[in-house]
Amino acid sequence: MLDEGDLAALWITLRLAGLTVVILLLLGTPLAWWLSRTQRRFKAVVEAVVALPLVLPPTVLGFYLLVALGPNGPVGGLMMSLGGEPLAFTFAGLVIGSVFYSLPFVVQPLQGAFAAIGRRPMEVAATLGASPLDRFFTVAVPLARPGFLTATVLGFAHTVGEFGVVLMIGGNIPGETQVLSIAIYDHVEALEYGHAHWLAGGLLLLSFLLLLAVYVLNRRFKVA
């Protein structure tokens, strides 16, 4: 069954995924909205950057983040000069890494959902006296609900499944930065197949249930 280290890894994983999704929804929603509305040429550049984690090996992303967040990197250096710690090999560093890593999984569904709304509902809301912010929350967000659901679940599940980035910038500190996927790797390395089975099977089931929930709920939204 699961030992204390496995439970700690599970807790860190869930915390990391939850926090990452919250941050990504806060940052990704305005970004996705802007991408769905703008016609500037600059848009293509931003879209490409957002999509990079889809094609980049996680170790590449992890390597650059490690350099940036380490004591000699720009971000880590800044943290040091402000009297803080460098972010590499910390939970905060993991969150930053995960935000980059899962960015496209949140931004792309949201962008698609916002684009599908079209201009008309927003124009209607404007002629009915709703200010831009008001109509965003009362029209765009409710109409993009399936997109938000997909973004949340994909962002969460993808962060849970993260391996390469975490390994590069988080190290593998049990109880601090050791997440499930790495715990599984360790168990396999140590030939503890029983432990590995429990964790791997659990992750498989969790991922399946999350995706199932997305498809079932999105179907219901469409019918409603």
Binding site: A126, P132, R145
Partner: protein, 355 residues
């Protein structure tokens, strides 16, 4: 009180350079062929388009002038789009309340129940938009726009996306709106029958420019405009129910130039009605004929004659101050020696009651 609009909008190879003034009352139709810029003009008035230059004054209040640009949500107007565009995530009631709730209670001049009754949508309030027919959706959209207590109602071909049955279902509601509410309406359309039926004023748009504007009766009969030519050329006449003839089952309608007799209509005495006279149904004679089956005969004076085609002429007449069109052959015009200023008798074969 007027609606004064001037807009310059440049979009690739299309330029809208429109400039018009109409009274801020009744229904003013913005009329023109597809692609002439009607919708763009209406969107500019709503603040949904950013024009290169714009000026908009509604009943003494400037909404747009130079750098001054009131954003759409601050313009007290209602907008009915061609497709009803109801919010799919809200019920009919939720749609109606969307604008209504955003209005401070003291600014609500259109009562919720009244708008619901006026458009006959009481039984639909709990329904979702996707379960409604096209005509029902458009009625909800009109009520939703009315409930913002607009000082100006903009309607962009509200009937164009509907089938014939839904159209005939909605037209009476639009007429009631006209009669019962004192909200000026700008009504975009390319359907001359809708315009003849509803409009009081007409702004004629051609390739992004205002060709002419004025009262509907005048505009339809101005022989210098394309409206007064072709097979559908017509005049509209405002009349009142004067008398019912029970013996012959007829109704007499009075207008400043005389009296029309039509098959009996179930309308109260004094009721204003609008009549449509197609130019091809109007003939002219020098004397009042007695031995004719045509009942609608009255005196008029010829104003102008213009060539319609090698065989025909369009004649504009004045019947007690009301302009009327008659399309006759060149041969008849020569035999009767018709010329401007000549007094004649107008015989109308058929007259249609609009609405």
């Amino acid at each position: 009180m007027t609606i004064e609009a001037r807009f310059l909008i440049e979009r690739g190879d299309f330029t809208l350079d429109a400039d018009f003034i109409v009274p801020a009352q009744g229904i003013s139709a913005i009329f023109g062929a597809s692609g002439c810029g009607k919708t763009t003009l209406l969107r500019a008035i709503a603040g949904l388009e950013q024009p290169s230059r714009g000026y908009l004054k509604i009943a003494g209040e400037v909404w747009q002038d130079g750098d001054r640009f009131l954003p759409p949500h601050q313009r007290p107007l209602g907008y009915v789009f061609q497709e009803a565009s109801l919010f799919p995530h809200l019920s009919v009631r939720g749609n109606l309340e969307y604008g209504y709730k955003r209005l401070p209670p003291e600014a609500r001049r259109v009562d919720f129940d009244r708008a619901v009754t006026l458009l006959g949508i009481g039984p639909l309030l709990a329904r979702r938009p996707e379960g409604l027919s096209g005509g029902e959706r458009q009625r909800v959209a009109i009520a939703r726009a009315l409930l913002t207590s607009p000082r100006l109602l903009l309607m962009d071909e509200p009937l164009a996306a509907l089938d014939r049955q839904s159209k005939t279902e909605i037209l009476p509601f639009l007429e009631r709106l006209h009669e019962e509410l004192s909200i000026p309406v700008l009504y975009v359309s390319h359907a001359s029958d809708e315009v003849a039926r509803l409009a009081d004023q007409l702004v004629l748009l051609e390739q992004g420019r205002v060709r002419a504007s004025g009262p509907i009766g005048e505009m339809l009969t101005r022989v210098d405009l394309p409206l007064a030519h072709g097979d559908e050329a017509e005049a509209v006449v405002e009349a009142r129910v004067a008398e019912h003839d029970e013996t012959f089952h007829l109704t007499h309608l009075e207008f400043p130039g005389g009296r029309f007799t039509v098959a009996k209509k179930d309308l109260p005495l004094g009721q204003p009605v609008r009549l449509r006279l197609l130019a091809r149904d109007v003939s002219l004679s020098l004397e009042r004929h007695e031995g004719t089956s045509i009942l609608n005969i009255f005196p008029a004076k010829i104003e102008t004659l213009v060539d319609e085609n090698p065989a025909q002429l369009m004649v504009r007449l004045d019947a007690g101050g009301v302009p009327i069109l008659s399309r006759i052959t060149r041969k008849s015009a020569t035999i009767l020696a018709l010329e401007p200023g000549k007094s004649v008798y107008v015989q109308v074969k058929t007259v249609a009651l609009l609405g």
